[in-house]
Amino acid sequence: MLERYDRQIAVIGEEAQNKILNAKILVVGAGALGTSILNSLVRAGVGFIRVVDMDVVELSNLQRQMLFDEKDLGEKKVIAATNKLKLINSEVNLEPIVDRITADTIGKYALGCDIIIDATDNFSTREIINKYAIENNIPWIYGGVAAAFGMAKTIIPKETACLKCFMKKRTNEEYTARNSGIMNGITAVIGAIEANMAIRYIIGKPSTKLIYIDLFEDDFQTIEVKRDINCTVCGGEKVD
């Protein structure tokens, strides 16, 4: 059974692989980041993956959303994605959910999951994930992209900074694929980094830094992020 993961086990060992096989992950979104994340997680052998999204596959998605092809046009993304993922690794237990993550729904979808991975396209949903994750002590991975730029960060409640600790006062001024365009290189890379961050958390070697990538300037930055003792979401407890 483990032969499939030979090359991965050569890096992390069999004990770590077994942790991956027993892991339960919620992926919020099945677009460009989501399909990259799911592709990596399923190939790595994550035991259970629940993926939530309510959109359908459109022609303009095919430029970057790597699990879809022309046959999938008009199909719900989570259904098309899980159909493809089952062909990649039938050992993974996949649960597609056609819905939207809100403050009311996140609890039932995160239930039983070891970690949440953000593949959403807006900061409103990320703030919902952040608040829920901190209050319920579930780690989550932030990822965001636009044009040729991307960022990612592992957030572990009460251990690392949360999203609110390093995010300034939020306005509606956010850059997305819709208003800034998007290159498929950055969604593939940031999705793979988010999946790798989740794997690293699962095997006990979590990433700690905020990563920024600019694929048009060959610019790769790692940022040390401190907790904010006055954070309105996670503050008031120990500070790194």
């Binding site: 979104g29 677009g31 460009a32 980041l33 989501g34 953000d118 593949a119 959403t120 396209d121 807006n122 900061f123 990822g143 965001g144 992209v145 636009a146 044009a147 730029f149 991307g150 960022m151 900074a161 600790c165 390093f166 995010m167 300034k168 006062k169 939020r170 306005t171 001024e173 956010e174 850059y175 997305t176 694929a177 819709r178 800034s180 998007i182 905020l210 920024y212 600019d214 300037e217 610019d219 930055q221 790692t222 940022i223 040390e224 992020v225 401190k226």
Partner: protein, 77 residues
């Protein structure tokens, strides 16, 4: 006056027509917000900012030779 090396990342570079590192002169005792204002960057587009590779607040003071960075909200997925 002190000299800091500033960089506006990603879309923020449109406000200063370059995203390369460049030096900027500010008064001693200046904060990151002073640097931001001198660069003409809109505060409501700043997702996070850094001094010497660590996240910082806009009220943090900068010193001569500091490297500072400003990052926008990358919201897409």
């Amino acid at each position: 006056m002190i000299k800091v090396n500033a960089k506006a990342f990603a879309m923020l570079s449109k406000y200063i027509e370059t995203n390369k590192n460049f030096e900027i002169l500010v008064e001693e005792g200046s904060t990151l917000r002073d640097v931001l204002n001198k660069l003409g960057l809109p505060e409501d587009e700043i997702f996070t900012c850094t001094i010497n590779g660590e996240n910082a607040t806009l009220d943090d003071k900068v010193k001569d030779g500091d490297n500072v960075g400003f990052y926008p909200y990358l919201g897409g997925g």
